[in-house]
């Protein structure tokens, strides 16, 4: 695990953004992205993802922010020469061709004429747009625009690429091309930061992810790190009566489950467990520890149809992060209300 600042491509601390003194879009975000990895940023609508991305590329000014991007403080303009960026809902000048878009934005990033011409050619091939390179942007489909946008972000040979919804509007083949391009970038040592709603795609390419909820980082780490502690045994039962279940696992649950709801409890060894009427989930992955539970279920005459270790997907993690544990409600879209003032004791 990297520990020094120099090992991070992005190292953010206490990033706060308050709009018009009322809307707290970001509330002290801390986030670290290692060099050469693909990092995914997830979160519900209004969680502050785009605001965070825009702060990193100086499009939005933070209320407060500490930390570095490529070893330079946030907002350091010259550093942006090494950062490629594809915004969400981008609008490229319609009078340019795809090739001109790549060359123009590479020039703005400070690339020399020779290098941007050479790179544009290679990038057009990479994103599968070589044949339409000299067509005006106004005639492109959404998917084509995304491909050119990705090529544009890579135009100036950046060390960090920040992509905001890169696969938005792209067909499955295009998504695979983009995924392959990102993996190739990682091989070349480029750090890729992706903000996306497509959890399954992120899961396949991201080394690490962060889940932003209400302007705060709710989870952060590698997909393995985040899911290993949430693995569990699932016992699929043949609709046992509550009396049998209570006999099998006495004191685990207080009451019988109501249809469609989950009841939670703890086993005598303090392992968490859940029961929804059919599925029993037990919070460990040790086969030896599962045997006594299986025995107890059988002793109570309960038929066990299936038993397996379940590893939660990124989607499960996401929903867990955006669901209020107490009420079971999903957080509503939009920025969180400002933090309440602390009560003086």
């Amino acid at each position: 695990m990297p520990s020094a600042t120099g090992d991070y491509a992005i190292d953010l601390h206490n990033v706060t953004k308050i709009y018009r003194r009322r809307v707290h879009a970001l509330q002290g975000v801390a986030m670290q992205v290692n060099r050469g990895e693909i990092f995914g940023l997830l979160g519900p609508n209004g969680a502050g993802k785009s605001t965070l991305v825009k702060i990193m590329v100086t499009v939005v000014r933070p209320t407060s922010a500490a930390g570095t991007i490529l070893d330079h403080p946030i907002g350091h303009k010259p550093t942006l020469a090494s950062v490629g960026y594809l915004p969400e809902n981008h609008r490229f000048p319609k009078y340019l061709t795809g090739r001109q878009v790549i060359e123009f934005f590479s020039a703005l990033a400070g690339a020399t004429r020779k290098s941007r011409r050479r790179r544009a050619e290679g990038l057009l091939d990479l994103v599968g747009m070589a044949e339409r390179a000299d067509t005006k942007i106004s005639q492109y489909s959404k998917g084509m625009l995304q491909r050119i946008g990705l090529a544009q972000a890579m135009g100036a040979d950046p060390r960090l690429i920040i992509l905001d919804e890169p696969t938005d509007g792209v067909d499955p083949a295009g998504r695979r091309d983009i995924r392959d391009a990102l993996l190739r970038l990682r091989q070349q040592g480029v750090t890729v930061f992706i903000n996306s709603h497509l959890l399954s795609e992120l899961e396949t390419v991201c080394d690490r992810v962060a889940i932003l909820v209400g302007g705060r980082v709710a989870r952060q780490g590698s997909v393995d790190e985040l899911t290993i502690t949430r693995q569990f045994y699932l016992f699929e039962l043949d609709s046992p009566p509550w009396s049998s279940m209570n006999a099998a696992l006495p004191a685990a649950f207080d009451t019988a489950p109501v249809a469609g709801h989950v009841i939670r409890g703890k086993l005598p060894d303090q392992t968490w467990c859940e029961f929804d009427g059919i599925h029993l989930r037990v919070g460990h992955t040790d086969p030896a520890a599962a045997q006594p539970i299986l025995d107890a279920l059988r002793r109570a005459g309960i038929v066990v149809r299936r038993m397996q270790v379940i590893r939660p997907s990124l989607e499960d993690l996401f929903f867990e992060a955006v669901t209020d544990r107490a009420g079971g409600e999903r957080v509503s879209p939009g920025a969180m209300p400002p933090p309440l003032p602390r009560e003086s004791s």
């Binding site: 499009v59 939005v60 942006l80 950062v83 009078y95 340019l96 004429r113």
Partner: protein, 371 residues
């Protein structure tokens, strides 16, 4: 440097893609070309192949060179460059900044290693490029027409490029401020036209008040002279009346005294009523751009540099019979002298100060805003 060149190239491509740019450019060519369509002959004038005989308007009365210069000043500058072409240029360029700062477009620029202030100024000067190209085309065409058809090669015509660009920049900076502030092209166009009309009205009112003020001063001065003369006559009449008292001398003295009272009464009416109003408008004009005066500067410079004096003198003649609100003749020569006493430095300096302040506010909004 490569970034600035890239932005300039992009600005050219942007202009190139706008139909209005080409429409105005073609119209500029047509306006200049229409000069060439008119010709003077010893017996009259011709338009294309049609000949019109005239005793007063032929090459023996007006030399072709002076004729084309006259058209250039009265139509080319007054009508085309400083009115129609400017209005079309404003309509064409008003969307530059609202389009530039639209969501999804500005992100791409701001995420590059270019300071916001530099980005703003580069984009602003790219907008001025539009007008510079238009005027450049028009001036080259006019230069050729006056040279080939009129036989007078006047490089002074090219002064129109910096002066009209300067004039346009006063309006464009305001347009940019509104565009950056409201993010709306329609608001930018409408408010800029309103501002332009307002400035022209203010300038016209200020010049009219100056004329009235000078007429008032001239009338007061004339009455003062009359009072002095009447006082002298009264003194003489009193002396005669004292040494040789007659009924006639007494009557004459009474008439003179009555005349003096009348003159003093008239003098009281000319107490500088327009001074304060003029001062108010003049002070308001100080902080505003001098659109009309900047274009007049072009007349002034062309008259002295390109010897277009004859072309402009006709305009002065039409003002000879101007009267103020009280029916006093406006001293046109004095008015012209007063207006021409306003130095180039004052006209351009105060206008550029306005432009600098306006641009500062626009740049400040542009730089401080979250997109």
């Amino acid at each position: 440097m490569s970034q600035t060149l890239a932005l300039l190239l992009d600005a050219y491509r942007d202009l190139n893609s706008r139909r209005m740019f080409w429409i105005v450019l073609i119209l500029s060519g047509l306006v200049a070309g229409s000069f060439a369509a008119i010709g003077l002959t010893p017996s009259g004038f011709e338009i294309f192949a049609w000949k019109f005989p005239s005793f007063f308007f032929n090459s023996r009365v007006v030399s072709p060179g002076e004729f084309y210069k006259s058209i250039f000043v009265s139509w080319g500058i007054n009508f085309w460059l400083s009115t129609i072409a400017t209005a079309l240029a404003l309509i064409s360029t008003a969307g530059l900044f609202p389009d530039f700062i639209a969501a999804g477009a500005i992100d791409l620029y701001l995420s590059k290693p270019i300071g916001r202030f530099r980005l703003f100024l580069t984009k602003y000067f790219c907008g001025l490029l539009f007008v510079a190209l238009q005027i450049g085309t028009f001036c080259i065409a006019s230069f050729l027409v006056i040279g080939v058809r009129g036989g007078a090669w006047e490089p002074g015509i090219f002064l129109a490029i910096p002066i009209v660009v300067l004039f346009f920049s006063y309006l464009f900076c305001f347009c940019v401020l509104v565009g950056v502030w409201t993010r709306s092209t329609v608001a930018a166009v409408l408010l800029t036209f309103l501002f332009w009309v307002g400035v022209v009205c203010l300038h016209t009112t200020e010049v009219a008040l100056l004329g009235f003020k000078l007429a008032d001063h001239a009338a007061a001065q004339r009455i003062d002279h009359e009072i002095v003369a009447t006082n002298r006559q009264i003194a003489r009449a009193e002396h005669i009346s004292a040494t040789q008292p007659t009924t006639r001398s007494s009557l004459e003295l009474a008439t003179l005294r009555s005349q003096l009272v009348q003159q003093q009464s008239n003098r009281a009416e000319h107490h500088g009523a327009f001074d304060r109003a003029h001062a108010m408008f003049y002070e308001a004009m100080i902080v505003l751009p001098k659109t009309s005066e900047t274009v007049e500067l072009l007349h002034r410079e062309l008259i002295s540099r390109a010897r277009l004096g004859e072309a402009a003198s006709d305009e002065d003649d039409s003002n000879q019979n101007r009267m103020d609100l009280n029916g006093n003749p406006v001293p046109v020569a004095e008015l012209q002298a007063e207006l021409r006493s306003r130095t180039v430095t004052w006209i351009i300096g105060t206008s550029l100060a306005f432009e600098a302040v306006t641009l500062f506010f626009a740049a400040w909004i542009f730089s401080r805003r979250d997109y």
